[in-house]
Each structure stands twice: as C-alpha cells, then as structure tokens.
Amino acid sequence: MYRYDEYDSTLVAERARQFRGQVARRLSGELTEEQFRPLRLMNGLYLQLHAYMLRIAIPYGTLSSRQLRKLAEIARRYDKGYGHFTTRQNLQFNWPRLADVPAILDELATVQMHAIQTSGNCIRNVTADQFAGAAADEVEDPRVYSEIIRQWSTLHPEFSFLPRKFKIAVTGAESDRAAVQVHDIGLRLRRNGDGEVGFEVLVGGGLGRTPVIGKTIREFLPKPHLLSYLEAILRTYNMLGRRDNLFKARIKILVNATGVDKFRDLVEEEWSHIRDGALTLPEAEIARIRAHFAPPPYEELTGDPPEHAAARRRDPDFALWARTNVVAHKRPGYAIATISLKPTGGVPGDVTAEQMEAVAALADRYSFGEIRVTHEQNLVLAHVRQADLHALWQALRQQGLATGNAGLISDIICCPGLDYCNLANARSIPVAQRISQRFADLERQHDIGALKIKISGCINACGHHHVGHIGILGVDKHGEEFYQVTLGGSADDSAAIGKIVGPAFSAGDIVAAVETIVETYLAQRRAGETFNATLARVGLAPFKEKLYAAD
C-alpha cells in the first residue's frame, strides 16, 4: 500500500500543527464558532448530538495492521473503546474531546493517517473497490488512481470552498463494487479499442434528497489527462454550482439543470485550455505510485487445496461462512475473506478496540498485514491462503467477527442515525438490530439469498437507502419516528434508485413490514431469481397489497 514520502509526511504534520493552532484560537475566543466550524469540518470534526465526532480518512479503504492498531489505541485512550466504519470507507470516533483532537491528529500522523477533508465543502475521501488488487475481474488496481487523486485534491487552494461536498469513486473491475454511478464523479478504468487503459468519466451521481444516477461525459480519458480533466470539472462546478440554496448545491443539480450535453461542453471547453499543461500526469509519477501497490509476495500454490475442502466437509458452520464470506482471488490457492461487522443484534459497522487489535494480528498472520474497509461497513482480508481460511475463521469466531452473512439480509448497511447524529430525524440502529434479530436464523437467510437492506436516519442518505434492495428511510411524523420503505434500489452495474412502496411505517410496524416484503418475494420468485429481478417482473403491486392489506 502507499507509503508516505517526506512530502506527504510533512504535509500531514503541518496540517496537524495548523489545526492545533486553530483549536487554540477557538478556545481562546479569537475565532468564533462560525469561523471555526468550516475549519474543523475540513479536518473531519463534527459536533453531533452528544459529543464531537471525528471522521478519520482511510484512503480508498486500505489500512495496514500498524494503522489499525493505532486506531485501537486511540479508541482506548481518547474515546470509549470502539470505532464505527462508514459507507465511505472511513472510521468515526464518537466521543473525542476538542482539546484532544490535535493530539489524536499527531498520533495519526505517526502512522501516516489523518482526518483531512473528511468533511466540509471540499473533495472528500476518494473511495475504491474493496477487492482492489485481488479480484480476478480487475482491469487495473484503482487505488493507484485514488491515491493520485487524493494527493491532487488535498488542500487544493481553488477547491476548498465548493458549493457543497464532493465525492469521487474509482473502480478498476468490470463489476463495479465502488458504486461509481452514485458519486459526484465516478471513474471506471477500462480498455479502449487499442487495448490502452483509461477512464470512463461519469458525473452528477448522488444520493440524498434528490438521488440521481451519474451520466457519462467522456467514454475514454487517457491516464495522463486524469488530473487536468478533473480540474476542469471541479472548476466548472465551483463557478456555476448554486450558492443560494444548500439543498440544491451538489453537482448533480447543476448537471441536471444545465443538461448533460451542455455540461460536457462546458467541461471540455475549460479542459481545452489546461490539458497538456502543468497537470499532465507524468508516467514516472504513476509508476512511482503503482509500485506501492505491487502485489504482495504470494507463494506459488495450487488452487483449492484439499485441506480447505476437507475443512468444509468436516465443519458445516465453517462451510456456511465460506459460502458467503469467501470470494475467489486472482491467484490460485488464495481467497478474499470478508469479516462481517454485523453480528446478530449488533450495531452495524462498530468495532471494539480489542477486535481491531485482533483483526490487525490476523492480517499480519494471514494477509500480508493489510486490511480493507468496504462500503458496506465490513472489513476484508484480501490475500488469505485458502489453506488458512479455517484457522482464520476460528480466530474470528473468538472475537464475534465470524458471522457468515456477507451479502445476506442481516448484512445491513446503517448510518448512526438519531442515536448519534445531529442531522437525523429518526433512529436507524435499533431498526437494524431488530431486523437482524428477526432474521437471525442463518438457514433462513440462505434461503432468502442475497438481499441488501440499507437504512438511513434522514434524507442525507448516509446509509445509502436509495440503493438498497430494500431501503429504509427514517422520518419524523409529528414528533414520532416513522420509516419509509423503498424497493428495487441497486448500487452495482445496474444502478437504480429504489421506489417508494407506500405510506411510512411506525417504529412498531417496520420490522413486520420488512418480513412481509421478504415473504412476498419468496412467494413470488421463480427459481434463482434475485429480489430485484422478481420485483422487476411482478412490480410493486403484490408488495403493496400485502403491506397495506388491512387499510
């Protein structure tokens, strides 16, 4: 993974020192809260319902074991002994003290981490596919370009006060696991007719109040032009994005209002002035960064070793876990293992300090010291020998990290909601916990098959509910918590926004409603049909009928 050189280390240390000064000026009163707020947001520090929340950047979701251990240490020393992984591959601490944050940032800097631009109206964490560098269907490792974009976007003097936040995702595989179609800019690595690798550029995707699927404005962008093209898009957005209304300030609104063709023309016209200029990416820099993502020192192994098959036969619980939580690796004899952070009845995405340390140790032992964070709030060990999977699973079990539910109904994506978040209208975590408990039976989960439930506590959609097969949005109706359900969303290649099924459900009724939806699906589906396929075939009517039968 990427290792800082002296410039990177200097920048992070200087930024931490700068923030220390800003905190001191706030505490002394030299800065008002109004002046301080954008500054602390640019360092990922929110003021939430009960406490500050610090969002730490995990660039493109890749962590070293050393970094994960440091996060555990910070959790213990400065927080309440746990952290929360988010849908943008970041980590959140919920209880830091303001005066401790500079010290936390200094600690993070010692392991090449930071909280720069994890909030604020600037370019945020550039995410990638959690199987990068390991998946068989990869054109090129997207993290190389996520890192290049991360650096270019860090403390960019022109783009630090955008109309609104800006999110970029990069995918390198034929199958999009980075949800590029619902980002402000999505980049897809692909080959053109001549076999050259470049980027398809999508803009204007996003969730929140007005969910939109992104549109392609350039089919193929050669690599040297990556940064100059992004600069052209950002400059166009910075100048033309709305400044009068926070809720209409994202680039998706601008693209929609301008029309995608006109928007493309504006970008290309700006780009025509700056392409081939100072921002042209030298091959030497791409190569330098790519070298950091060189494959680990794999052993020469044969695929599907007999020990692995034997372990599955011997141990049905392990076999069940392997069915969902293990995915093929591009190297024979290796596998990609998902560590579920969704134990039955647990808080989705939460991890204790002990668990972090355990995962760090397992990463050292079984996966070259590297851990990945997914968009779906799970962790991944990307390079595990198939022969080691059983031992890994047993170790995970001891930590409560071996729930075999990856992609199943209890693998719920859920924002912190009104239990933590200042913006929320309703709680989300208790709903996730109750659904998880209702569907605890693993056999039943397998019978249902792949099903993504995504829950958001407000319209900002941090739980990505729009792109859940079943999406749940918490709303406030006359001071009470209600839950609106959407069906048929998807964040993968056939990205789609879910459709509202009908009136919202009370907190008391929502779990039963989910159960009714599942039962209806099972009753309607043909052999092997996914939830979305069944829904596409039969429409919403059967679901509405069952859900609102009594009305």
Binding site: L27, L47, H50, R76, R77, K80, Y82, L98, A426, R427
Partner: protein, 108 residues
C-alpha cells in the same frame, strides 16, 4: 405556551448541557432552569448567547419541556436522546471509565 429550557453542547467535549437558574451549565436536564413565559425564555437565551459563553458552549437554543413534580422532562425523540445518551447498547457504551483509566495510567 409550553415551558422552555436552554440547552447547548459544551465546547470542550461536545456534551449536552443545560442552563440552570443561576446561569451555570449542568449535565442533567432535571436541574435546568425552566422559563414559563416568553420574556423569561428570551432572557435565559440571552444569558447563554454572550461572547463569554461562546467559550463554554456551542449553539444554545430554547426547547420545550414538560414539567413533572417541578422538574423538566425532555419532549420529542431528539431531546429525549440528547438527555439520555444513545439508546443502543452495542460495541461498548462504557461511561468513559476505560478512557479515564488509560489516561491515569499514562500520567502515572
């Protein structure tokens, strides 16, 4: 009109605090100073919104309460959760004792 109190977040740690009748900030809603009429409410808010207070708290505002046995009770899900803390037990809602222990240990 409903009875009201003033609440804010403490600058130092973001904790939920309430303004008591003496003009000090307290952790517990039952000790909050209650305003029964509009004028008192505005006066209470004015106490909370000075530049000096900006060094102690962030974002003070008035919120409605119910009064039972002379003690204020929060109204609405949001204020109930603010008063009580997260309603979820999960990956550890330990009341800061681990953090304090670690700090003591490192100070020793």
């Amino acid at each position: 009109m409903k009875a009201r109190i003033v609440t804010a977040n403490r600058l130092s740690d973001g904790a939920v605090v309430y303004l008591d009748a003496a003009g000090d900030w307290v952790d517990s809603i039952v000790e909050a100073g209650v305003a029964e009429d509009g004028e008192t409410a505005e006066a209470l808010l004015a106490v909370a919104t000075t530049a000096e207070q900006a060094l102690r708290v962030v974002g003070p505002y008035l919120t409605d309460v119910a009064v039972e046995d002379g003690r204020p009770r929060p109204l609405g899900t949001r204020e109930i959760i603010r008063a009580a803390g997260p309603t979820v037990a999960g990956a550890a809602i330990r009341e800061g004792d681990e953090r304090d222990d670690a700090k003591e240990a490192s100070a020793a």
